[in-house]
């Protein structure tokens, strides 16, 4: 069946079985390899992307559900000229070790900050439940708090510029 959606700002139409996991369509058909396959059963979060602004585990999301929606993967998280606040913080704290699970963590964190701009440790514990085999959780926690600061600074400077 034909499925059309906007991914990272670009219109795409695919001819695929509607039950194909969106992850497979993204990686194998659209050749966007940033989103990773981890457990394949929506448990580890390596395949996390955003669909209409909500995070979903794309290994368990049939591509037919994406019809007409806006998808963002790790490749489309930044605005093109500047890294997303979460990516900046990740870089600042050198969070990744092997790096495999990190796109999923970054996408989950971006979704968290959209809902809770200044998360507490408890918010982080509740919402960031992806799995990292390298155990980079400690650095991630610091980076999430830092990302919240960067985001707040950006919002504050944007509103100052808008007032000028």
């Amino acid at each position: 069946m034909k499925i059309s959606f906007i991914i990272n700002g670009k219109n795409e139409t695919l001819e695929v079985d509607g039950n194909t996991p969106l992850l497979w369509a993204i990686r194998d058909v659209l050749d966007l390899k940033g989103t990773k396959f981890g457990c394949g059963k929506a448990a580890c979060g390596a395949c996390t992307i955003h669909v209409d602004g909500q995070q979903v585990r794309s290994c368990s999301y049939p591509v037919k559900y994406a019809e007409g929606k806006k998808i963002t993967t790790i490749e489309g998280l930044s605005n093109g000229s500047e890294l997303h606040a979460v990516q900046q913080a990740w870089e600042e704290f050198v969070v990744p070790q092997c790096g495999y699970c990190q796109p999923g963590f970054i996408m989950s964190t971006a979704a968290l900050l959209k809902q809770i701009p200044n998360p507490t440790d408890e918010d982080i514990d509740n919402a960031i439940i992806n799995v990292c085999r390298c155990g980079t959780y400690y650095r991630m926690r610091k980076a999430i708090h830092r990302a919240a600061e960067i985001q707040a600074e950006f919002i504050s400077s944007s509103s100052v510029n808008a007032d000028k």
Binding site: N19, P21, G40, C59, A111, Q115, N126, I129
Partner: protein, 203 residues
């Protein structure tokens, strides 16, 4: 003489006892009515309904805490770390629909149905007896203000409830267990029990 009086008394007592234990002479219709009196058939319907409601396909969505329980053994997958939150729909940034859609996913083994969510905490069933569950289920203060008719609709028409008979396969491709009573029998039992006054037996 005394001996014969005692023998006569013994015979009379036996006859009396026999006549008491014999059922009255009833027509076939009356006999069948006796076997399934309204109370009996209501209890029978209750038994059938509760066999389903106490099955893990139902109880797993009505956990005692706010963490989903899974599988035929109603276990908690701690590595998932997921919480149903205040209303059972998950948290702001990560909710049930992060992983579950409106249908079962045979690729990942993740189950799905419309309105996938945990029941609110006031409707927790895990660890309760069938009488406690039924009492709580029919109490508007604990069942979301539903009338008996609305409870009947929830139990017999709601897609998430009826998913119990179409639970899909797990991540290994093994079909999930369905409740021990067929869907049609269950629906008929719920309607009969509620239509007969939703009488909850003592145990």
């Amino acid at each position: 003489m005394k001996k014969s009086i005692f023998s006569l008394l013994a015979v009379l007592i036996s006859l009396l006892a026999f006549s008491i234990s014999m059922p009255p002479d009833l027509s076939e219709g009356q006999k069948s009515e006796l076997k399934t009196s309204p109370q009996d058939s209501s209890n029978e319907a209750f038994d059938k309904m509760m066999q389903v409601l106490m099955h893990q396909r139902c109880v797993n969505c009505h956990p005692a805490g706010d963490v989903p329980i899974k599988g035929e053994d109603s276990h908690v997958t701690r590595s998932l770390g997921i919480s149903g939150g205040e209303k059972g729909h998950g948290l702001k940034s990560i909710n049930c629909q992060t992983c579950h859609t409106d249908e079962n996913n045979d690729f990942s083994g993740v189950p799905g149905a419309p309105h996938w969510a945990l029941a609110p905490k006031s409707m927790a069933w895990e660890g309760k007896t069938r009488v406690e569950i039924a009492t709580q289920m029919m109490d508007p203060k604990l069942n979301g203000g539903r009338s008996a008719k609305e409870i009947m609709e929830h139990l017999t028409e709601h897609e998430l409830v009826l998913w119990a008979w179409d639970p899909g396969v797990d991540a290994e491709g093994t079909p999930r267990e369905t409740p021990p009573v067929s869907k049609d029998e269950y629906i008929a039992a719920v309607k009969e029990w509620i239509n007969k006054g939703a009488i909850i037996p003592n145990k």
